[in-house]
Symmetry: C2
């Protein structure tokens, strides 16, 4: 017997860029991508590492988003999670990839809360 208790979807993306935008530009693109995919920011935190690199996390009405930059590699790691039927994390990631000067990307979707009972 199996039971599927789907709670949400995690979409993760590894993104390589032609050039890493400054934080203000990148943050603006994140906000645009979230709005386009019907997600609403409730709160957010940003940390600028020395000598470089930014980590940002957002609490969304629908769940969360996290972002890590590696400017020395023009690389960006993005996670978007939604708990239920509201919002579309894959669409948010796709929108962000399109807004950025992306040269290559991997995108994975992981269904969460899938429980198998024997």
């Amino acid at each position: 017997m199996s039971e599927y208790s789907t709670k949400g979807t995690l979409c993760v993306a590894d993104i390589w860029l032609e050039k890493m935008p400054d934080w203000q530009t990148l943050n603006g693109h994140c906000e645009t991508a979230l709005k386009k995919s019907n997600m609403n920011v409730l709160n957010g935190l940003v940390h600028q590492f020395e000598p470089q690199g930014t980590t940002a996390v957002w609490i969304l009405a629908e769940s969360h988003m996290a972002l890590h930059t590696y400017p020395e590699q023009n690389f960006l790691a993005v996670d978007v999670f939604t708990c239920g039927d509201e919002g579309d994390p894959a669409a948010a990631v796709k929108a962000l990839i399109e807004l950025l000067p992306t040269t290559a990307s991997n995108q994975y979707n992981q269904l969460r809360g899938k429980r198998l009972i024997n």
Copy 2:
């Protein structure tokens, strides 16, 4: 030709509990699990949803952690990401599972930043 540019590991876990602890207890277990796996909290945000459910995100020196509770299902979704060689996200998740009254769990590890070039 292939190139592997490993940047970090994302460990995600779906956890079912006998009973959902209150936030203070759960937060304490998260802090303990992070310490045990050599991760350091730089900042954090918590949002309590109405009528229930908690989302929490932490910026770590090593990357981030995110947590979502579904008290009505005694279900917890946890993500821990590390950007480099510091810290052990799988160990943090394992420690958290052991600290909680866990009845079932799924745990997945995802290598991030793996790039294939033809």
